[in-house]
Symmetry: C2
Subunit: 277 residues, 2 copies
Amino acid sequence: MIRGTTKLIAHLGYPTESFKAPMIYNPYFASRAIDAVVVPMGCKAPEYPAFLKLLFKLTNIHGALITMPHKVSTIALLDEVLTTAQVAGACNAVRLGADGQLIGDMFDGEGFVRGVLRKGRVVKDARALVVGCGGVGSAIAASLAKAGVGQLTVFDPDARAMDALASRLRTHYPRLSLVAGSADPSGQDIVANATPLGMKPGDPLPVDVSRLDPGAFVGEVVMAQEITPFLEAARARGCAYQIGMDMLFEQIPAYLDFFGFPTTTPDELRRLAQFGH
Amino acid sequence: MIRGTTKLIAHLGYPTESFKAPMIYNPYFASRAIDAVVVPMGCKAPEYPAFLKLLFKLTNIHGALITMPHKVSTIALLDEVLTTAQVAGACNAVRLGADGQLIGDMFDGEGFVRGVLRKGRVVKDARALVVGCGGVGSAIAASLAKAGVGQLTVFDPDARAMDALASRLRTHYPRLSLVAGSADPSGQDIVANATPLGMKPGDPLPVDVSRLDPGAFVGEVVMAQEITPFLEAARARGCAYQIGMDMLFEQIPAYLDFFGFPTTTPDELRRLAQFGH
């Protein structure tokens, strides 16, 4: 029930039609009588910097969830960029600090790491490969580094994106064993597909699955279907895995915490979510 | 259920704590499966012009409800000001036109007039007195003029506000018999209190109730209590009346129509409203 005291969390991006966050957060807020609401706001890039600034002057604004195409451009608009967002070079959550400052962090990768841990895998000292160094791949790499992986390999056919991520990782995690430029999954404990491959029928697989260790854990960011061709092939080799939707639900408790709300489990959020199907 | 396709109606004003519109519109939208939501946004005056402009660039914005302190300043920010808003000198609803233009109208007075009509009174050719020429009084005067009153008297101790309203009324309704400067209710068929008198204990009455015709109909804008001292005194003389909340619910079908939504009766809206008491 929205009222005059309700804390506003803007969900900023464009287009908005496929937004899922309102149907996850709002039923949870209702179930706990938390006086807050997530509201989609379709904002295009030219208006975004000015709109974000004025939005955070509203007297009932509490925070914002940031999605495409604004995750990267938000960084330059903040007063304080937390480490994971710095390494990722992108931000997907902004909250108002005590003195009106805008504080941003990045939780896509946190969702990936929490999912791996929940499936019983160890992340600390593991060898991990992230294929795709765009926004979500950078976020996963940043969170794997934060979680203490022993070796991190990043790959992107776009060498500039890959090198920029590697450089940010070296700056913030100078002691991390970092490899940039190989997509070979052989010998990796954790392999993340952070490319869009799998969204369209006929896409090639993101890695050579025949070189995947059967004991490896693979994770997917694509949500177009639950079991993408990559997960299908990895599963056929005996790999454990997590689907894109797991990553989504795993990260939400982290946002709740960031925004200062009582938090809960991904399972409760999943039970309450109303996707209308 | 808010989703990515939901049409956004911003409720703009400051402070927001006492806003009632979300608890009236949103349960109605839910009951009819209308994919729209009213969201309070606490906007202060310095940010308002820029925020209004950017808000209406959002791809899912549908309209705005405008309240204190922005009803007057909105007029200068619109592309098209409908007649009642021009006469009132204030606007409390804005919608997006087909070509992106901002179109504004004013419905406070419409609610007053619809309430009088619903109580079985005739407005056309009646003699009406409006005490208070601020935003709401001007709106009531504008709507009474539109509804065809035979004579309209307006009064405000602030002569500048009163004369400005009288001038706008003369411009738009040159054939209206208009009196400015008397608060004498004697001989009036309809008397509206559009002053804040009655909000605080010990306030004087807005008119000399001893001169009120027992056959007159009186209406109140104050909502601090259902039966204000003015209504109490008028009722004691035998007058029929409407309370401030009647005016609120009577105007909502007019907004629904303005925004292009399926409309309904004030009674259904009242039944669905969730004020949380």
